[in-house]
Amino acid sequence: MSKFKKKKKGLPAISTASLPDIVFMLLFFFMVSTTMRETDLLIKKPALPVASEVKKLELKSLVSTIYVGKSKDTRISGDKIQVNDKIVEVKDIPSFIFSERALRKEDEVKFMTTSIKADKEASVGTILDIKEQLRDINALKISFSTSKGNDLSGNYK
């Protein structure tokens, strides 16, 4: 009983002790949801086409990404292919996939997916060349990266 009597009267200052908790909660949310960009794009950022029937890519750690787009230098025409941090030719793609496979466990290799992030202005010829290379080395699961939307008219003019 005496404990209660000891308490001082008067307004206590509003405790800001819970403010860090709130901020930490936000912080953790963003930390978890963050995906750091691993590669610096050497090509112009591909404007992905829009599609409505998209599937989410599961198992992010098993995805290897190939970028296709225009060169940053506007004088250079044609499609450029980028993997990791360098611009490569179509014929270098198998070695890229092999190096990606070497990083994974053997039993995970068959679940590996190749995601093609190509600009909507890129030509199909380049994409089909890449597909042919992937077929050659049995990397059969691919995903054409798109953004989700229902209005497809921006894909073509």
Binding site: T16, A17, L19, P20, V23, F24, L26, L27, F30, M31, S33, T34, T35, M36, R37, P49, A51, S52, E53, V54, K55, K56, L57, K60, V63, V68, T113, S115, I116, A118, D119, K120, E121, A122, S123, V124, G125, I127, L128, K131, L134, R135, D136, N138, A139, L140, K141, I142, S143, F144, S145, T146, S147, K148, L152, G154, N155, Y156, K157
Partner: protein, 204 residues
């Protein structure tokens, strides 16, 4: 005894530190989930297959370098692809593929016109997408998307009829709770409307 007045640690600066980190992560966050149209490439074989496919079981889609589209030699728009593909796949004008020496059966779940000049059975209907090297990727994806949409809609309709839930819902259920019976349902739907898409060599 320690003095009670000093026992409270000033936690005000903790918020500052947390805010600093928070702002860092806010700026670097990219929320985009990688999504796209999934495709499985055909395996490479040295032996050329000698399967004879009848002309009426193939839906020819040709797209040229000006992004113009021909389906069965008729000039169409991209928005027509889904309708035409669905009509073609769901036609069911003949017998299906024979399985294990059993003769093929007519399609009892198709809702098509049963036109004898269109595809025999969904399991036989092949969609051929021939593109030009100069076609833009956006166009190519749009066509792929429309074909995918056609298959999805057919599967959804059939699934609603058989199980009272659409194919998409079944897939979602399966993701949350993978059970054997769901797996069977999904496989069954996939087998009834298999995606058979072929992409011949592009026009140079």
């Amino acid at each position: 005894m320690a003095r009670r007045e000093n026992s409270e640690i000033n936690a005000g600066s903790m918020a500052d530190i947390a805010f600093l980190l928070l702002i860092f992560f806010l700026v670097t966050t990219t929320m985009d989930v990688d999504s796209g149209i999934a495709r499985k490439l055909p395996e490479k074989t040295d032996v050329p297959s000698d399967v004879i496919v009848r002309e009426k079981n193939v839906l020819d889609i040709v797209v040229n370098r000006n992004n113009q589209l021909l389906i069965e030699n008729e000039y169409v728009k991209v928005t027509d692809v889904k309708r035409l593909a669905m009509k073609f796949i769901d036609n069911g004008g003949g017998l299906g593929t024979p399985i294990d020496d059993k003769p093929g059966e007519p399609c009892d779940y198709c809702g098509g016109d049963k036109d004898p000049n269109s595809s025999d059975h969904p399991t036989r209907a092949i969609i051929s997408l021939q593109s030009d090297r100069g076609t833009t990727y956006g166009m190519y994806i749009s066509i792929q998307n429309e074909i995918e949409a056609a298959y999805n809609e057919l599967r959804n309709t059939l699934s609603k009829k058989l199980y009272g839930r659409s194919y998409d819902e079944l897939l979602n259920d399966y993701k949350d709770n993978p059970t054997k019976s769901l797996q069977e349902k999904i496989d069954d739907l996939k087998n009834k409307y298999p995606q058979i898409i072929t992409e011949p060599e592009p026009i140079k």
